[in-house]
């Protein structure tokens, strides 16, 4: 009796999850295969006419291959900001964990405050303007690095605490310099947490909408999310094309999810529970 109750409860949970979480994705996918007349009905019905290739081709070719350029821009911004982020935060996290002093506590606190404080928008534009970086990829990249620094530093300094100080002492006996020691010995040991940071931050940066909207306006440097936002008004009568765009933009996180599922979950929880 209890056993069959449990099975019914489980079936119910699965059914509910499917309705709530899978149908929205199915809705987008199936409607991106229809022609615009059928898609405008916004239902889940199987398409009478499949128009897959035409839809996706049109979205990709729209506005002189805007989407391709946007994907390239987003990929570039994501990769460069993560490379910078990993190096600067690994170094900072290492020092913040190994050295203890009053001024450092304040520095640590300022980094952590970055997790809570909402970034000031127009003043950031003012700063970017002052150094000639407003509306540039370089400016946006450094913004992305700056806002992801607090989280990365928490993860790095937490992980450094698990590396025994004996390694440092041995290196000292060998007469290693601090730079040499860090890059040869410490950085390789940080690999597990580095991969967590790479996966999580790449999702953040690739999906970021707000910062490109403010700091990289203009069509020529559009990022993938900005393009999707612009297509919302461009395709407000051709849902099939808009949904095809949504599908294309969901592919990168989906791939990442399929490959790194376990790592993402582990990393998110490590960061969140400690923070």
């Amino acid at each position: 009796m209890r056993k069959s109750g449990k099975i019914i409860a489980e079936l119910f949970a699965i059914l509910l999850t499917v309705i709530l979480f899978i149908i929205p994705f199915y809705f987008i996918l199936i409607n991106s295969f229809k022609n615009s007349r059928e898609a405008s009905k916004m239902n889940l019905q199987w398409p009478n006419v499949f128009q897959i290739l035409d839809n996706y081709r049109e979205v990709i070719q729209a506005q002189d291959y805007m989407l391709i350029r946007a994907f390239f821009n987003s990929a570039f911004i994501t990769v460069v900001s993560i490379v910078i982020l990993v190096f600067v935060c690994a170094m900072a996290g290492f020092i913040l964990q190994r050295r203890k002093s009053k001024p450092l506590t304040i520095v640590h606190f300022l980094f952590l405050a970055g997790l809570m404080i909402p970034p000031a928008v127009v003043p950031t534009i003012w700063v970017l303007n002052g150094i000639g970086m407003f509306k540039t990829m370089a400016g946006l990249i450094l913004i992305e690095v700056a806002i992801n620094i607090p989280f990365a530093i928490i993860l790095y300094s937490g992980f450094v605490a698990t590396i025994p100080r004996e390694i440092d002492e041995a290196a000292l006996v060998d007469g290693a310099g601090s730079l040499n020691f860090f890059f040869r010995m410490i950085l390789p040991l940080l690999k597990p947490v580095t991969s967590t940071i790479i996966v999580l931050t790449s999702v953040n940066v690739f999906n970021d909408f707000v910062n490109p909207l403010y700091f990289l306006p203009g069509a020529e440097n559009a990022t993938a999310q900005l393009t999707l936002y612009n297509f919302m008004s461009l395709y407000n009568t051709s849902y099939n094309l808009l949904f095809a765009d949504v599908v294309l933009l969901t592919i990168p996180p989906l791939l990442l999810f399929l490959i790194f599922n376990k790592r993402i979950v582990a990393g998110m929880t490590a960061g969140a529970v400690k923070g």
Binding site: I95, G114, A120, V122, S178, P253
Partner: protein, 287 residues
């Protein structure tokens, strides 16, 4: 013998410190000044607290306080409770738990814009899937995003849909770290599943629960992109949040006013979230 301190060069802090200072701290610091000016980026005129007074007096601006507060409390409160229930379900040894975990978690990774677009169609008043399904059950569905009294709650529901998986995963991690013998002790005492949950799980997942509360509450206070994609703060100003007002004033060229919005948001986070964090972490139970 030399101290290992020679290996811990303060210079290592510089790259992160400089980037963080120029692109985050400096704008935050100058925001306090520029929030008290009429500002064109190249030129400013000091006007004292006028921007703040405007923010509190104008109904199109001060609606942001109410909405931001409702939104943050509604989304974080629901994520805290629903996330916990899901986590209990997904650690209860059901066979499909890996599948369900992945499905619930996946929306966390897709872009907010994509989610916003999808749901603004699902919530379409006449043809949308949600109201079609409700109609099949004989219920007349509301105009989710078009009704000024409802729009902000509808966006909040989508936020919960997207974010509850994150809360669930944090809870699951917290539950995994509870030693199994604690539960065995309850078994020996003849306690049931509810006693296990109430006396073991609940007190010991406090750190995880605190993370969920803080992260989702601050996230709610700062939300912009979902509301912007789904309603643009409308109909009228009915679903405007402080963050969307900041953007609208920026678009309108009212840079001083926009920055005042930023300072207000900063103060709200400092006044609500920071003490909340202190209060919660004080009451954590050590394992």
């Amino acid at each position: 013998m030399k101290s290992t301190k020679s290996l811990y060069s303060y210079g290592f802090l510089l790259p992160a410190g400089i980037i963080f200072f120029i692109f985050f701290l400096l704008p935050t610091i100058v925001s306090f000044f520029f929030s008290m000016t009429r500002w064109t980026l190249t030129d400013w005129e000091f006007i004292g607290l006028d921007n703040f007074i405007m923010f509190f007096k104008e109904s199109s601006l001060n609606i942001g306080f109410r909405n931001t507060f409702i939104y943050a409390v509604m989304t974080s409160g629901t994520k805290v409770v629903l996330g916990l229930l899901l986590a209990v379900l997904l650690t209860s040894g059901i066979r499909s738990k890996d599948f369900l975990r992945s499905v619930v978690f996946f929306p966390t990774l897709i872009s907010t814009i994509a989610v916003g677009i999808t749901f603004s169609y699902l919530m379409h008043p006449s043809r949308g899937l949600i109201n079609t399904a409700l109609a099949a059950l004989g219920i007349q569905g509301p105009n989710w995003l078009g009704d000024p009294a409802l729009a902000i709650y509808s966006v909040g529901l989508v936020d919960i849909w997207k974010g509850v998986g994150f809360a669930t995963v944090i809870y699951i991690a917290g539950m995994m770290s509870i030693p199994a013998d604690y539960y065995e002790a309850v078994d020996i005492d003849g306690g049931n599943a509810f006693r296990k949950f109430w006396h073991i799980t609940l007190p010991l997942i406090r750190p995880a629960m605190n993370s969920v509360i803080i992260l989702s509450f601050i996230g709610g206070l700062r939300t912009f992109d979902l509301v912007w994609t789904m309603t643009k703060g409308g109909p009228g100003f009915s679903s405007d949040l402080i963050a969307s007002i900041i953007y609208k004033q920026y678009q309108g060229g009212f840079y001083g006013l926009s920055t005042a919005g930023n300072v207000i948001l900063f103060v709200i986070v400092a006044v609500l979230a920071f003490p909340l964090y202190r209060f919660l972490t004080k009451r954590e139970v050590d394992l």
